[in-house]
Amino acid sequence: MASISMRSLVKTYGDFTVIPGLDLEIADHEFVVLVGPSGCGKSTLLRVLAGLERINGGDLYIGDDRVNDVPAARRDIAMVFQDYALYPHMTVRQNMAFALEMRGMDKAEIETRVKRAAGLLHIEDFLDRRPKALSGGQRQRVAMGRAIVRDPRVFLFDEPLSNLDAKLRAQVRAEIKALSQQLRTTMVFVTHDQVEAMTMADRIVIMKSGIIQQVGSPEDVYERPANLFVAGFIGSPAMNVLPVTVAGDRLVLSNARSVQIASLGSKRPAALIEGATVDLGIRPEHFEVAPDDPNAIAVTVDLVEPLGSDTLIHFKLAEINAIARVSPDLRPKPGDSLSLSPVPGKIHLFERETGEVIR
């Protein structure tokens, strides 16, 4: 178990810079999820941590050790790969024992550890099978078992759930979460799935183009996104973003100034000057149906998506597509009129030019 420290870390491939200089501290025992769209550098960062890629600048510490030039074999980390990367010519038992054999561990101790890990993951019955005789979910468990059995300083997961079907993914997700609480080992988990990030992480690191956009707890990044990118990435469906103009204590749609969309109330940020145009973010779940509110926005329903637990209403606000998540009891039809208003205190304002949040 160890903390991880990345200081001004740079990774390039020839002239192409993937990570231009990244600082991140991960505490001992912490479960950190790196999340971002494809090509954002999250998997590269994980491979750098694993020692599978050399860094081109900065420093990387695992515990107190500077590991810039330490090969993967000597970093004492375990990694679960996206495609599991099991050794096909070995049985499950041999797969799990392999890393321990490489460290010259006593055979009896290896057997004890393999059995313990197999018990933990409920794979005792498959120990003498080869990977090709296992289902995707079973292979995934073996890959985790291979990591657990080593009792490493750090666990790395590279999108380990992406090859599982939706039901199994939810199940294994919960199992990994439970395991992390049981093992109390530092874990770094890479995913592009924000649901995985939100449900598993102690802290989420949201990346774009090799740059960290925000680091925070799941609640933080959801409730207080640092910029438009984070606001759009976290939450499904994505946050509605509308260009608005400040008019007194009101926010009116920039392209339809007669439509007041929200009120700033008494907590008006100092940076907001009269007549400024900013982006207003409202999450779909932060609209409420308010037929009696004189300030509510009257919208025409374009599309209704009943999800069972709730219903998504698609509509346009001055030609901009927007979505509201409402109670499943409400069953409007396309063409119906609906009065919606943002939940007070749940609106987000972003600078137009930079996309940074205005607080």
């Binding site: 599978l52 000597r74 495609d83 990367a85 050794y87 096909p88």
Partner: protein
């Protein structure tokens, strides 16, 4: 009645015709050689050729009586097996490194060396081996034949190594393997089919290689293929004995060629990754 569409059926017919033609091109000389080895000397060169004849073992008897055939076979076996082993020992790690690093130019250099005519190397080698007094030794043949076997091993194995998911190598590194251990413990066991195929191909090419043995061997170390040249004289050639020798020389590669079919289908990496 066939369910195939007319265009499918004509394709099948074309396929069959082409296969038969290719089979004829390959098999007719082979069958001719085998048949000739069982003919009397005058029948071998008769024109028009005799199709119906009384088979005789005279040529095989003459072969065993006039030449130390088994000794030459032993020489061939020594040279072929050692050069194949050397090709595997040098070629397998080279193929692994070429695949791992994706740097294939050294492998291309070996291929160029393999494709260049043997006569290009022959004179320098002859001079070199004479200077170290190795002409006529097994080692001169083994080392020169390794130039034939090693590129085969490298080029057969590179796609086999390429086929192993990179993440499997990386998992082994994370598990504590040095690159040498990744090769020995992970990569090599996963390319056993490729090793078998490359070994058999290297064996066949070395076994059949004529030129180096003709020049670099002596009467003690002469290989079968070089010894068979003895039957070709300036005035007369014993075609029957030559055909008998050729038939026997062709047997080991033919048997191995049949075996190689079994190894070509490689399913060992199944289950390494998703799917």
């Amino acid at each position: 009645m066939s369910d195939a569409a007319p265009s499918d059926r004509s394709l099948q017919i074309l396929n069959t015709v082409l296969l038969v033609l290719a089979g004829c091109v390959v098999m007719v000389p082979t069958l001719w050689m085998v048949a000739s080895s069982f003919k009397q000397s005058f029948e071998v060169t008769a024109y028009p050729p005799t199709i119906i004849f009384t088979p005789t073992l005279d040529n095989y008897v003459a072969l065993s009586e006039t030449t130390p055939f088994l000794h030459y076979a032993f020489n061939s076996m020594i040279v072929t097996m050692a050069s194949t082993a050397l090709g595997l020992i040098l070629g397998a790690p080279a193929a692994f490194v070429a695949s791992w690093t994706r740097i294939t130019w050294p492998a291309i250099v070996t291929l160029v060396a393999r494709m260049a005519p043997g006569t290009l190397f022959l004179l320098p080698w002859y001079v070199m081996f004479r200077q170290v007094d190795m002409i006529g030794s097994y080692w001169s043949l083994i080392l020169t034949h390794a130039v034939i076997t090693m590129p085969i091993v490298i080029w057969v194995l590179i796609p086999f190594f390429d086929n192993i998911p990179r993440s499997v190598y990386e998992a082994a590194q994370v598990d504590g393997c040095s690159p040498a251990r990744v090769f020995w413990r992970i990569a090599l066991p996963l390319v056993t089919a490729g090793l078998a195929v490359s070994a058999i191909l290297a064996f066949v090419f070395s076994w059949n290689y004529f030129l180096f043995a003709l020049v670099l061997s002596n009467s003690d170390t002469k290989t079968l293929i070089a010894a068979s040249f003895n039957f070709i004289g300036e005035g007369s050639t014993n075609w029957g004995a030559l055909m008998a020798a050729a038939t026997l020389i062709a047997l080991p590669p033919l048997i191995l060629a049949v075996i190689v079919q079994r190894w070509l289908i490689s399913g060992l990496t199944l289950g390494a990754v998703k799917g």
